[in-house]
């Protein structure tokens, strides 16, 4: 009898986390370069208390991971010459105080030393380290394969990188990812750079709202299950304990 309650409880716990993930997706529907996430659930068979080691007919729910959908977000024009969107697979490599980070958020700006940086002030890594511009020479132009030129002269190149397994990436906030494995990224050959554009998030708001409704209904259902299980034991105690 108690098993039913614990199965219900395991589902409720995962539903709460699912709700947190959905809420984060909805909150970030307008975030540049944001990739939508989904909780991965699995059944975890266990045997009831009395038959330990025997068949395992009781199936709990367990959240085992988080899937990130790295599909392309929609590109939109901003008209800002330091905005760069990546089309296809690949990440910008950013040099931060805590080591290399990777991002799809291409809103760059200049720091006091005229280097291309993120909005937080971390340097964008080009083919020869930081990308240094000469502010006296007029606007930058960035080709589709990442070559940056100013006044007709090549001053560097953006070399996006890609990962064999993107599940090794950990989100750090501010649109940055960290590589948690020892596998080094390789150059992303298929990526195309678009100057003056940004990549929107790939959140599908309607899908998220639908999922939210499902989560909320499932949670209520589980609450009712727990309630009814309690009533069952209540009834059992009342009947069995009756003196006749």
């Amino acid at each position: 009898m108690d098993n039913a309650m614990y199965v219900g409880l395991s589902r409720q716990m995962t539903l709460r986390r699912q709700m947190d993930v959905v809420a984060n997706n909805i909150a970030n529907q307008d975030t540049v370069g944001f990739k939508v996430e989904q909780l991965i659930l699995e059944e975890k068979p266990e045997s009831p208390a009395k038959t330990l080691g025997g068949p395992a007919p009781v199936k709990f729910v367990l959240d085992t991971g988080l899937a990130r959908d790295f599909s392309q977000g929609s590109l939109r024009t901003t008209g800002n010459s330091l905005d760069i969107a990546i089309e296809g697979e690949g990440f910008f490599q950013i040099d931060t105080a805590d080591g290399p980070r990777y991002t799809r958020d291409g809103r760059f700006t200049l720091d006091a030393g005229s280097r291309l940086t993120t909005q937080r002030g971390d340097q964008l890594v080009g083919d020869g380290g930081a990308i240094l511009v000469d502010t006296q020479k007029g606007p930058l132009s960035i080709s589709k394969d990442g070559i940056i030129s100013q006044a007709g002269q090549r001053i560097g190149a953006i070399r996006p990188v890609q990962f064999a397994s993107m599940s090794n990436l950990e989100k750090m906030g501010d649109g940055l990812y960290r590589n948690t494995s020892n596998v080094q990224p390789t150059p992303a050959t298929t990526a195309q750079m678009h100057q003056g554009m940004l990549e929107g998030s790939n959140v599908n708001a309607i899908k998220e709202i639908t999922e939210m409704i499902e989560v909320s209904r499932a949670y209520e259902r589980m609450a009712r299950l727990v309630e009814q299980t309690t009533k069952l034991s209540e009834n059992a105690i009342a009947r069995l304990g009756k003196m006749s």
Binding site: N24, A27, N80, S114, T135, G138
Partner: protein
Amino acid sequence: MRALRTAASGMSAQQTNVEVISNNIANMNTIGFKRQRAEFQDLLYQNVERMGAQSSDTGTIVPTGIQIGSGVKAGAIYRITEQGTPTLTGNKLDMAIDGRGFYQVLMPSGETGYTRAGNFSKNDQGQLVTKDGYLVQPAITIPQNATDISISASGQVQIVQPGSTAPVLLGQLQLATFFNEAGLEAIGGNMYLESGASGAAVIGTPGVEGVGKIMQAYTEASNVDAVTEITSLIVAQRAYEMNSKVITTSDQMLAAASQLKG
């Protein structure tokens, strides 16, 4: 529940978005105004189950891990420096810039401000000033007896004086260009200041080497497009509503949990 706070951060970010859009709409008819856009960034993530953690004694690892985000914040609000439409006013001291560049203005604080609002006037001494009375640099002083003033596309200011038919060259207007115009700091009054992100001002002659041309008797309208702004407003409002739905749903879930014990 984390979802409550996450959705609240989403609502406040969308509120910032609406504020930026409403400022754009309010400045639809401001001369030389450049529209702005709010961009967002995700907040910190909490690792519920760390990826790469060992899941057994034999050395298998958790491949994906669980990271739960905590919402969104407004990352940057930046300016879109597209050209506004030149509008004919017929006023001889209105000068729109067609192309890149800013007029230099001497601010009362001694700093140099930069503006694209070329609706200038004369002060009591005949000096060319902005609508706030700040001097335009390089200074141009128009004599009292000038009967006509003409400004060429390359910024030469010429006047005609009584008793003479030949125009007299009074001075040369110059424009400042910036490497990254979007990085300029707006201080209100159509005025901008140089910043670390904009790069230093490069002074040039109008019409030369990528510097814009001057159009006399025109002003530059704002580059706000009403249809785009209203569409963004609708999108922002819907996003705001969705975030508020997340809050009500989380609240219902909490209520369901608290009603368990009847």
